[in-house]
Amino acid sequence: MRIVLNGDSVETADGCTVGELLQQLGISRERVAVELNADIVPKVDYDRRPLSDGDKIEIVHFVGGG
């Protein structure tokens, strides 16, 4: 299936969870926030929230800023 990840269309395994996606990307879950179709996914739900075809995912973190 295809999802839109940080604005880019990418291929991912069917039924992949948010937690699995982060793991595949090598992203530590502690310091990021994830939005699925404009709703925040709480960290406790990462492993039980499966993604669907066409989902829009945003993964953000903190960068330098004023």
């Binding site: 604005g7 926030a33 994830v34 993964i59 903190f62 960068v63 330098g64 800023g65």
Partner: protein, 259 residues
């Protein structure tokens, strides 16, 4: 615990430093960390952005001791209340803290705040339990409205973001100080240590800056200068300056002059 002398309290947390520092525009993460250390700041701002999936996974937070600093995520780059609120919710999830520096910009050239959108966002965020520190115009009416909405502080600009023009309207800052009871923190516009001292001498609770340190020729030295300026300005304010007089008033006694 007894409260130590002259601390700054924001959102129920107590801070001994009155200098808040941004983490943008430094040459490297190492330099950021050294400047923060030298500044003595306890509150540091960060921005919320997409994780870059192509590049190295090295991140700012690898260089920052989170036990030492309170992160103040900002909503820089947001031009609507909706975008700012969305960014704050993401920041809370990423950082597990309720502190946010709320900015809603009105214009790319001046980066002046859109106060109407700012008030709208502040209302939503306060209701959602955020500790809101809004970057706003140096306008007492807006500051009072932000205070009434439940913001934990108000952060009027001294001059446009990154301009280094200093405190362009100290009289407006004074009026704000006389009319709001939450901490007033000058955010934006400081260029040099004397600007920071002026803000503190006016009676501000603190100063927030980024470019003045990060853009200096020697950011580490400027971080120390800003730390000392904020301390000196605060002491000067508390000590109570002499009134300004037009004519001289001799410091040495007139009696006993040789004849």
């Amino acid at each position: 615990m007894t409260q130590s002398a002259d601390t700054l309290i924001i959102g129920g947390r107590e801070f001994t430093s009155r200098l808040m520092v941004g983490t943008g525009k430094y040459a490297s993460f190492e330099q950021t960390a050294r400047a923060l250390e030298m500044s003595g700041a306890q509150i540091i701002t960060v921005a919320v952005r997409r994780v870059n999936l192509d590049r190295s996974k090295e991140s700012l937070l690898d260089y920052i001791d989170l036990k030492k600093y309170t992160l103040l995520p900002n909503t820089a780059g947001c031009y609507t209340a909706d975008d700012a609120v969305r960014t704050c919710r993401l920041a809370r999830e990423a950082g597990m803290s309720d502190f946010v520096k709320l900015e809603v910009l009105g214009d790319e050239k001046t980066l002046f705040p859109d106060n109407e959108e700012l008030l709208k966002a502040a209302k939503i965020l306060v209701a959602e339990g955020f500790t809101v520190l809004p970057y706003c115009s140096d306008d007492v009416i807006v500051c009072k409205k932000l205070e009434d909405l439940g913001c934990a502080a108000v952060m009027p600009l001294g001059a446009p973001i990154g301009s280094g023009l200093g405190i362009r309207n100290p009289y407006n800052i004074r009026i704000i100080l006389e009319n709001v009871s939450v901490p007033v923190i000058v955010d934006a516009g400081v260029g040099s240590a004397s600007d920071a001292a002026i803000a503190m001498e006016l009676g501000c609770a603190g100063v927030l800056m980024n470019t003045a340190i990060a853009g200096a020729q020697d950011p580490i030295a400027m971080a120390e200068a800003m730390k000392l300026a904020v301390i000196a300005g605060r002491l000067s304010y508390k000590a109570g300056r002499i009134p300004r007089k037009l004519y001289a008033n001799a410091s040495s006694p007139l009696d006993g002059m040789i004849g």
